[in-house]
Each structure stands twice: as C-alpha cells, then as structure tokens.
Symmetry: C2
Amino acid sequence: MPKILIIGDGQLARMLHTEAIELGLSLRVLANSPTESAAAICGDVILGDYHDEATVKAAATGVDVITFEHEHVPAHIIDNLIRDGYNVQPHGDALIHAQDKLVMRRALRNAGAPVPPFAPIDSTDDARAFWEAMDGAVCLKARTGGYDGKGVWFPDSLDELEQLVAEQLDHNTPLMAEKKVHLNRELSALIARSPRGEVRCWDIAETNQDGGVCRWAQAPAANVDAEKIETFATGIAETLDVTGVLAVELFDTDEGIFVNELAMRPHNTGHWTQNGATTSQFEQHLRAVANLPLGSTDMTCAHAVMANILGGDTTWDHDLGERIATVWRSYPDAKIHLYGKQHRPGRKLGHINLTGSDPIAVRADALAAAHYIAHGHWPA
Amino acid sequence: MPKILIIGDGQLARMLHTEAIELGLSLRVLANSPTESAAAICGDVILGDYHDEATVKAAATGVDVITFEHEHVPAHIIDNLIRDGYNVQPHGDALIHAQDKLVMRRALRNAGAPVPPFAPIDSTDDARAFWEAMDGAVCLKARTGGYDGKGVWFPDSLDELEQLVAEQLDHNTPLMAEKKVHLNRELSALIARSPRGEVRCWDIAETNQDGGVCRWAQAPAANVDAEKIETFATGIAETLDVTGVLAVELFDTDEGIFVNELAMRPHNTGHWTQNGATTSQFEQHLRAVANLPLGSTDMTCAHAVMANILGGDTTWDHDLGERIATVWRSYPDAKIHLYGKQHRPGRKLGHINLTGSDPIAVRADALAAAHYIAHGHWPA
C-alpha cells in the first residue's frame, strides 16, 4: 500500500491518520512539534519546518504521495518538489487557488463561477476606489495565509479601511478586497476528485460561522438546488484540476449563491461525514490522493450535524472525562472526536457528530453537547 | 482524559488505537516487536514480554487503566498488579474465565448457563472414561492458550485421543474434554459492561468458522430469541463481574443453545460494529474500561456483514493496492480494514465490512470482496 506524507500536524492530519491506519495505508506526518495534535499519536513523525525546502524533501524521501492539511506550504517548494519528480496531490497549479484568494477569484470568474465583485489592493488609492465603487460595502482580505477569520476585516469607514491597508502593506501582506454581501446563510459543497478524474460529491451542508470560526455544519441543507451546486463545484474541481477533497464554501444571498472560499483538503464543514456518510472526507481524501477508486458518499442517516467544541473562558470544577461522561449520559449516541489539544479560549478542541431523523432536534442536541464539553454547563 | 495501556500488539490493539485517537484518549501499547500490527502505528509503544512482571509494571507506570487484547497474560501477574493498586479491567477474577476453559465451564454450569458435558483430563484414564461416557463424541481442548482453532482437537478414535492426551500432558498442557455437539450454526452475543455495572448488548450475530478460524459474521442473526440470549449473556457478565467487551460464542444445536467460549475483549465476531452500529466494540471497550458511560449499540443499517481477509496460497501478478482498487470499483461502499501485516497463508490480514438491505446479497458481496483481496481473483 502507498506511503503518504501529510504536511501538517493539526486535527485534520490526526483524523487522516486514523483513517489511514484502518486502510492499512502508511502515513508520515511532518510536524512542528512532537506534542501537536497529529504528531502526538503518529508512529512516523518527522519534526521540522514546512517553510524549509530541504526539510520537506527529507520528509518526502521514500513516500509515494505528498499531501497537505493546510494551504501554507510556500508555492515555490511545491513547484520544486513536482519538478524533481515527487508526486504531490493536489499539485501546485491547483493549490495556488486555495493559497491566494486573488488568484482564486480570477480563476473562478474566468470559469464563469459566481463571485462577488473584487479587486486587488496594492495601495490606499486602490482601497479608496473600491470603497467608492462598492458604496462602502467592503471586505478586506489578506490574499494568503488567512484561516478561521484571521486575515479578514470588515472596516466601518473609509478611514478605517485606508488605515488597515496602510498597516498591512507595511507588513508586506498582499491584499484584495471584495464586496461585502448580505448573507442569508452559508453552505458548503464538499467533493473529492482523484488524479484519474473520478469525482464524488457529498450532500450539501448548511454551515454556521461566528467571527470567522465554524460553529456547526448540518447535512443535508434544506431548500437547496443540490444538483446545480454539485455541477458547479465539480466544474471548479475539473477546471482547476483539483485532487483530493475540495471544500467549496458558499454564500447564500438575496442575489443568489456566491463562492466564498476554496479549500483543497478535508474541511471543518465536512467532519459530519465521519459518522453520517458511508465514506468520510478523511478516508476519501486518502483514496483520492493515492489514486484509488473513490467511495460511496451516500448518507447513512436522515440528518447529520457537526458541532465544534471551542475552548471557553470558564474554568471547571471537574475534568474533561467528567464532562464527557455527563454528555454521554444525556446523549449516548453522540460521537465525540477530540484533538488532544490543550485548552485555550476559542481554540478548536474537538467536535461532536450527531445523527437523527429530526433536523432541528439533532442540531440543538449537538450544540448542547459541544457547549457542555467546552464550558462545563448546558447552554442557557 | 485517562491514559490506557493495552497489553498486546495485534489488530485488536490497532483498532482500539484508532478509536482512542478519535476519543482523545491516550493509548500505550505493550508490544513484542516494533513492526507488529499495533506497534507500527502507535506513538507510545513499550517493547517487552508480557510474561515478565517487571516489564508489565514498567509499561503500566503512569497509566490510569490496564486492559488486554488477548487472554495470555499470566494470571499471577494480573493478580500482583491488582494487589499493588493498578486498575486492571477486566480484573483477574473475571479474566480467569477467559483464560482457563475448565474454570469457565465450571462457572457457567454453576451459574445455570447451558454448556455441553465436560470433564478435566489429567490422564489417559480420564480420557478413556470420558470417551466411553460420550459414546466417542469428544472434543479435546487445551485449558489455556488456544485461539483460532489452535489447542482444539477432534479425535476420530479412542487410540487417537489417548495418544493426543499423552503427548499434550508430556508438554505440560492442562487439558479438558467436552462432548462434541452437532452444530446447526454458530452465534455470537457481544455485550459491554462497565465497572459501575452499566451493560449494553449489540444485535446477535451469526458467525462462521472454518478450521476454528472465523470467516464471517453477520448481524442481526435470523430466527434467534435475541432477548433470551441477551438476558443470558448479561447474566454471565454480571456473575463473572466482567468489564469491557464480552463476546459469548454460542453453538446453536438441535438440543438448544450452548456456550462455547468467552472472550473478555473486542472479538473478531464483533468487527461488523465498526460500520454497522452507532458505537463500535472498540470504542465501547475503551469507554467501559475507563468507566465512562456506554454508547448506543443500535444498528445503523438493516444488515451488516464482516468477512475476514485470510492470507491465501496464491502469489499475485499485481499488488495489494491494485487488488483493493478492483474491489472498490465493484463495491464502492465496502469498508476495508487492514492490519498492516505481512502476507502468510491463513493469516488474518484484515476484514471487509459491508452493509445493506438484502442479507443474502450483502454476505455474498462481502465474501467476494474479501476473497479477491486475499487471492487476487473472484471466487468461483
């Protein structure tokens, strides 16, 4: 069976690892520290910095496939790996669209996909022009490196925008801006594609973010034209030649659906597939990057909800084991996934998956269970 | 979260490990060799011999719970660990019934559970007396250490029995004999019990053995009095004070149901729970030995089948990855679990779980898929 290198040491690499073990695939993790989420539980860990080409190449020695749990590996390293004959999935020409939001917006627009109006921001003059064109409805974004709401700003005034732009350009942060749209809700289209071109789509999920951080995801989303979205997401995967899992984050607005972000890896909004679909996004990503046939994406339940366990501000009178015991006494079918991370306010520490026949009840229960584990008390 | 030591390095420890990672439980493996199934994928491996008390105690330092993937740890080591304050689950007074078939038979008979006629065999005289009493329908068993059909003999004549007994007693193998019953089929009752006395039963499975080695298991078994068997299996767990998973292997005969064997750990006949039940036997075993609330054992499908991938005699023109690809092209919803073991004829290399609505078709498909991976061609 192929040997796979995952660049990254967080919870996505951790959950890829558990699926890899069951499949008999041999996984190696390139990690910053032996105590990180994936490094702590993997038997084949290379410690080092993924910004260093020699480190990445040393880690890649003897593996059959290199893949990622994040978009932060510098593009020139990926290009050099491919030039030197390494098998990188997804390859750099695809991954650049998940790394650079401006490149992604341009490619999507060229492919005819719906994106909000946008512009590169290389000066405060650019910022002022875009602000005026958008009538002040402006979202400023770092083109690269952002995640979980980091690198995204919603200025309330032109002064604030100009100040932000000046500061960020001083820090050499490449910027773009796009029209701030009025969201009715967010959706996520999750698909997988293999190098031989096989594609599978999971059910569309409705997702909820707070401060840029995912709170919950629920599948299937109600009242969506799933066929249209799947066709559209498949088109993006094929046009950009994506391999592995592709998450297409969507804004559902009064003006229709817009693409917000692309991620070319397992995604927080797809964790529900671990307990709600025949093939999880983690298993499917491994199958896809190894160019093995893809699995069925059929749901195994009527409704599935994932609720993130986000570190709270509270301190507890009882430990994690006791909080979990309390949750399981109330919800014996709650599937608890923990990442082995130290508590920090707002940090993603784990998630709860719950399935059932009543979509409203399932979501309320999953959120209550996740809240209890994070806070040590039930939500008000 | 509690730290758990698993004594054993095979596929059961491997699959306990993947569930432990998802639960955020920290697992340590006591292994014979770093290349064994569980040792190869676990980040916290202690190498050593579980027959050596000092080794086991050193491995147990700093853990909250000690548990097992087999019954072969000497009873005196377990007793000494408990005496010294270690938390061993299941404890030695329970585990002795899975270690010594004669002790188990006596306890079951005293508890009123149905067992075939049996006797200790300490001499060829004992053997001859039992042969005559049973009219030649005799199964000879090593009291301890047997598995997968090893340590079980079906002599065709009194001469053969006497010779076997003389040989085995010469090797200091403690022996017992029981009446050879005519099987209509075999069943498996899988239950879990926690130290605080919580009990959960999964659906009864029909199982199939060939030469003492499990071929397949299917849940739910047709035409069984599930309630009666569950009551009966729960009674065994409570009487023997079992903690963790208990597998009660049953013979279904014209004279009724008899208990064949007990295993106090996840069991091959329960692998279907990984993809066919809300809580797998591996997750449940960890929850039980850590004294956490037990999970729902509801099935998530109409029918679930597990088929073992047993090493064949053939050599292949193509590699494992290609055989898996072929299986997945035919069965995209087949859940393949591989143990990372080198091929050897007859060896358990992995298993396939398949679920569906037609029990006959699901079993045929699972067996075909497992056969293909083992042999490189479809069954005739």
